[in-house]
């Protein structure tokens, strides 16, 4: 159903300009949202700011159920609803806003490959830590996820979500990993990103692309979210160019509260 809506918007709304009333929906920031969703939402917000497209962030407890694909975040633009960074990038491209148009084919291939690396390793690691690590699941994830609901719905929804995520982890081969192995995978991923970034300001030198937005969303969220242990943040902190990368994007795109 969500896919049909994305196809519809390509054919009908390419010409309409970006409205002032565009909104981005995510779960409640203080009590409910979890690490992985926060990272995904921040990536989309960073991307839209990099494009210069204003969007208002609205927090709703049932954002996950409002989303056409069940994934956070989603944006409501005009009469279209689009969720997840990939489709949102395509949507803005149809409206004439793109950060990666000037890239050559080989560079675009590289950009997409590195975005999949972030999804494959960082996002999966976040999901693992949230739902497969018993300590984190019990202390943080289940309470937060179920906070808007009263008992017994809260218990049911939390355990259902946990079961779903654990099934997915098993399917992609992460079910048998230990927490230490997951941290090691995150380190390797960060090392690859650090290598690729080098001393440049952004991954494709002077101009940010959707890859920069995605990396920023995940790294910044991990660095600023309190978990049961600081191990994950420490692993990222050992790569100084990634830290300055996050700081640079935060200062350039998030410091002024004008939007």
């Amino acid at each position: 159903a969500g896919l049909h809506r994305v196809f519809d918007l390509f054919t009908s709304t390419a010409a309409e300009p970006w409205p002032e009333s565009a909104t981005l929906y995510q779960p409640l920031k203080e009590d409910q949202i979890l690490l992985s969703d926060c990272a995904s939402s921040l990536a989309v917000q960073a991307y839209l700011r990099m494009c210069g497209l204003p969007v208002q962030v609205v927090c709703k407890a049932n954002a996950e159920y409002m989303s056409p694909s069940g994934k956070i975040p989603f944006i409501h633009v005009g009469n279209q609803v689009v969720s997840e960074l990939g489709p949102i990038v395509q949507f803005t491209k149809a409206k004439g806003n793109s950060l990666s148009d000037s890239l050559e084919d080989v560079q675009r291939a590289e950009m997409k490959a590195y975005m999949e690396l972030v999804n494959n390793m960082l996002l999966t690691a976040e999901l693992y830590i949230q739902w497969c690590d018993d300590a984190t699941a019990a202390e943080i994830s289940r309470p937060r996820y179920s906070s808007p609901y009263s008992w017994p719905l809260s218990k049911i929804l939390a355990y259902q979500k946990q079961w779903e995520v654990r099934r997915k982890m098993n399917a992609v081969g992460w079910g048998g990993k230990t927490l230490e192995q997951v941290y090691e995978d995150v380190s390797q991923c960060c090392q690859a990103l650090s290598q690729r970034l080098g001393t440049q300001p952004y991954f494709f030198n002077k101009q940010p692309t959707e890859l920069d937005a995605l990396v920023f969303g995940h790294l910044f969220t991990i660095l600023t979210t309190r978990l049961t242990s600081t191990e994950l943040a420490e692993r990222i902190k050992s790569y100084s160019n990634l830290l300055s990368f996050c700081r640079r994007i935060e200062q350039t795109y998030f410091e002024d509260k004008s939007s």
């Binding site: 291939a109 999949e116 099934r167 090392q191 290598q195």
Partner: protein, 311 residues
Amino acid sequence: MDQNMAAAMELRCWGGDWGLPSVHTESLIVQAYAKFSGAKVTVSPVDWTWKTLTATVPELLCGDSAVQEPINILNFLRKQRFNADYELTARQGADTMAYIALLEEKLRPALLHTFWVDAENYANLTRPWFASRSPFPLNFLVPSHRANAALSRILLMKGEAPLHRITEVEGKIYSDAKECLNLLSFRLGMENYFFGSLPTSLDAFVFGYLAPIYKASLPSSPLQSHLRQLGNLTSFCDNILAVYFSSDRPCPPPPVQETMDANLQKLTQLVNKESNLIEKMDDNLRSSPQHKPHRPDPKPSLASEQNSTPA
């Protein structure tokens, strides 16, 4: 240079067909890497044994240790000094990780769907093949077991909660896969391998994913037609098959690590000594009174020496 592995290495794989050493992507990846890195492994197919159901394939057995999953097997071989990635820079190593993630996320779902979920392909090709290579009564169990695993994997990775239906995601996974093939084609360009003139682990992974799609006699596959249009990717597969898997040609030697190190060291030392001598001679000439310098600015020196000011 010593042969450091005293224990023999045995690799359990699915057998071959359609001109390929194995029909199974993960088995192909490991076999290709073994050839690229010069590792001597004995390949023992699990066909017609009970291991078709019980074993995790591919599996590398070496002495007491059993390693599963292509990534782990490649790491194990690397630790045994069978390293096809020796010459890669750190940046190229990072690119390798990224492209493998691309294959995993964008190509694997369509690969699984083509062979195990598409009704026509499954009924006419995949199920008969796997059933014919499993002993009775496993021939009834093995194909459907693998098909169920493939379907649930696709749905869990790509499906939209809460109703997981395969028809909703089919369009997306095939368009993602076609885009992935295009990206690989752009990246490979006109080269033989992804990083220069020798194949590396990335080449092994790409070969493992592409070769079955390319070579299998699939009754219906838009993915196969798309791949066959990308000439550089099909030549890539054919080239690897001809160079590393043909029975009449011996394999090219892998990059030799130790002697290259020693030679490179010696060469660097010689070059440094020579340049030191030249610098000293040059300085002597400059400081001697009857010679005027040809250039006012001192030559940049390789060794750290103080620059003499022109007389």
